[in-house]
Symmetry: C2
């Protein structure tokens, strides 16, 4: 339907193809983005171009938490007010951000930048399990919270991490699973209800 049937200018075609590499962007959306920036937001196009270039060159991974940072140690890891006895392992910076937004965690993080995905060829080596073990084995760490997603892959990752880290005698915990805050039971899926029942607690 949106196949290019007109002889398209090469720079336009290349821009559309470049947009298509972004997650969730297909031919039609990429085309809309390209037309938009060219017609209405040339300044935005130039800013995006520069922001991409700058981000790619300026951002490194924090040596402590592995998240994106401009410095070798990120501000979160170097913040003296953070509780060094807690280490929360998350899949992505987005997950880390969500936990921060809950304003209920003041420990440190380790960001996997992925999850075990055997079908995609992502194994323990790619996630640098050894580095995580080293980090978790530091004397001040008293508890490691496995906060990977409750998806098949996130669960697998948590499972393997637990096996890998338990050798070091560290206390491991996992985020509670249950009924979401503010939700009505009627609209919660059955497996969540099942988990909430299984992990019910006395009041």
């Amino acid at each position: 339907m949106t196949n290019p049937v007109l002889p398209e200018p090469a720079p336009l075609r290349e821009l559309i193809d470049a947009f298509k590499r972004l997650p969730g962007v297909g031919e039609r959306t990429a085309r809309r983005m390209a037309y938009h920036v060219l017609q209405n937001d040339v300044v935005g196009a130039q800013e995006l171009s520069q922001a991409l270039q700058h981000a790619v060159t300026a951002l490194i991974h924090c040596q402590r938490c592995n998240s994106f940072s401009e410095t070798e140690i990120c501000p979160t890891c170097s913040n003296p007010q953070r509780d060094k006895s807690l280490l929360c392992i998350v899949e992505t910076p987005a997950d880390q951000n969500m936990i921060e937004a809950s304003h209920s965690y003041y420990g440190l993080y380790y960001v996997l930048m992925g999850r075990l995905a055997p079908l995609e060829g992502v194994g323990p080596k790619d996630l640098q399990f050894q580095r995580i073990a080293q980090r978790a084995a530091e004397t001040e760490v008293r508890e490691v919270i496995l906060a990977t997603n409750y998806t098949a892959e996130g669960e697998t990752t948590a499972h393997y991490l637990a096996e890998y880290l338990s050798a070091h005698g560290i206390k491991l915990t996992r985020l509670a699973r249950g009924v979401p805050a503010g939700s009505e039971l009627e609209y919660v899926d059955a497996s969540t209800i099942a988990w909430a029942l299984m992990e019910r607690r006395s009041t």
Copy 2:
């Protein structure tokens, strides 16, 4: 929910903000795109950066049809096999592309690169109505097909264009409106049915 609560590296924040200027991209999607290119597709990020820069500098508007082109006259306009007696006026290059994809039109185009939108301050001057009139008044043009969208704004644009161009004694037509091909009447909206009835034709 996705408000940055962590001290974010500036290059990351700038990249997210730049993505947010794209149509249909909010904070969450922009963040996903930024993390994606930084984590998994640095090459893609660089290609997008260059494609944006290249497109912005290399693309101009065709002097005949006003669509994006690398040359002063685009390949479509300079194609001798095109029927010069037909001029189809569309809102965007995307619309032009859809008409091409129907493989049922072999005339030339004029791309408005927008539509009349009084509320957004887009008037006849912005769309260069005078230039369109000049183009439509060329001796070889026998029929102008108004192929703007059947939205309120597209209709307004067609209406004004018709008024503006009719002074030149050019034959003006508009795309037929009716039941979409392959659709069942049961699922077609009432106003479309009403139009299809009003514009019914003898078989």
